[in-house]
Symmetry: C2
Subunit: 276 residues, 2 copies
């Protein structure tokens, strides 16, 4: 999916919601255990219940890898199911990969060809040649970590040079030269909504993937105030707040309701900013 | 495996060689294609041929993930085979993971419990709480990226504060306080052997995992000169130079010969430094 198609999808769904499929087998409703693949069954029902309110889905690889080969089978089925919706869903592998060139090429193959995701989260520590191989795939996206939503983000991301430029700002400055808004987005945690205003000075046009709304404490309204641009430019992620809204047989209905509340708030914000 | 056991293994094998199992299915000898699982067959023969000269094996996850579920099955068989050697082999998952706490916990489960590796490479960008979950496993190791061997390592790892401290130095300074030499090692590329002397001032006692000898151009002698400590403190990795030494039916013999040459050079260096 390209930049224009993503923007059209946002306008069509009146939403910039990303649902994080952090589908921990220990946390899914117990009644699903009777199915052959409880995690896929869970994901499928979550997707069906939320797809009208949701632009993007983001399986978090750790929750699949932690079940070994079986987990990867659940992931394969999940991405195949997501892809059956075609351009009605944008798909993100939250894998935070990044390695030397010939290795990154293999990761690109894994996520863009084998699993056929639209986008992959990538860690910037190893620099340009660790990221370039991902940028060579047409209509595929790198989502580069800039400012993350965890408490220890400041440990290194706030490391400052002599001009008070922080590492995450250096990541933005350098990496925006490697390609364009057409295939790089950035992870920017919602717990630092004010920081979004400064980030927008560096990258006014790029999409931002914003985790941390909900359980981690960020506010959607603030994210939109400081981070929204003319093409929306935001994908706001919620994981546990939606997918684990209930632990009972009503989990999909409860997830749907939670997603709908977020979509309605997003619709309001999109209208307020004259995007729809 | 703990620090003391690793040192004993190095003394026993008179080697600090790590063999990288970057087992690209496109590059393994064609005659192996007749087997059900050519990559596992390749790995098994490489391991058998090199185990007397090798302290550690390091499957590079990208080369398994790029084959989807099938690749993970090859990885599972490979680590099971490695683990059948017990404490005669130290195992490293070269996966460069790192995410917020609850996600890192899942990765720790994946690599330390499900696959049962001794060690995992981890990227530092997200700070302490992305790394702590890995440090809670007894006799398991974090191998944190500090200074990598790729050309673009300088993009961010050389980002300097007002006192000319570079980011990779800040990573060393901070992270060494999070635990001890007993369960953190660092990745330090051999292409910057002189940098090892400065690194040793910050972390005199920790083990270093050193890639980049061989194809990437680093010199083993220089690595030992600047990086060896009283407990050796080095695991030097070679991947393609060993495993793809030949593309024919003699690939295992050729790999064995290449590993033996490195082991003999290592034995000489260990003796020169009065370690054995």
């Amino acid at each position: 999916m390209n930049y224009g198609q993503l923007f059209e999808l946002i306008k069509k769904k009146k939403s910039f919601l990303c649902v994080g499929l952090d589908s921990d087998i220990e946390k899914i409703p117990p009644f699903l255990k009777k199915f052959d693949d409880p995690v896929f069954e869970f994901n499928k029902r979550i997707i069906d219940a939320t797809v009208n309110f949701t632009v993007a889905y983001k399986p978090n690889l750790a929750f699949y890898e932690s079940r070994g080969v079986e987990g990867l089978i659940s992931l394969q089925k999940t991405i195949d199911y997501l892809n059956s919706f075609g351009d009605n869903i944008f798909t993100i592998a939250d894998a935070k990969r990044g390695d030397i060139g010939n290795t990154s090429k293999q990761y690109a193959k894994a996520f863009f060809e084998i699993f056929n995701f639209d986008a992959l989260t990538v860690a910037p520590y190893m620099g340009k040649d660790s990221i370039s191989p991902f940028l060579e795939f047409e209509n595929k996206w790198v989502i580069l970590l800039a400012l993350t939503s965890n408490r220890s983000a400041a440990d290194f991301q706030y490391f400052e040079d002599k001009n008070s430029k922080k590492l995450f700002q250096e990541v933005l400055h350098r990496s925006k030269e490697w390609s364009s808004k057409e295939n790089i987005m950035y992870v920017v945690g919602a717990t630092k909504a004010e920081a979004l205003a400064d980030i927008r000075k560096i990258i006014p046009d790029h999409f931002l993937l914003v985790p941390g709304v909900g359980v981690q404490g960020g506010s959607l309204e603030e994210v939109a105030r400081y981070g929204m641009n003319k093409k929306c430019g935001l994908l706001v992620n919620s994981s546990r707040g939606i997918i684990f809204a209930s632990n009972g047989e009503d989990f999909a209905d409860k997830a749907s309701a939670k997603a709908r509340v977020l979509q309605q708030e997003m619709e309001f914000l999109l209208k307020e900013n004259n995007i729809i």
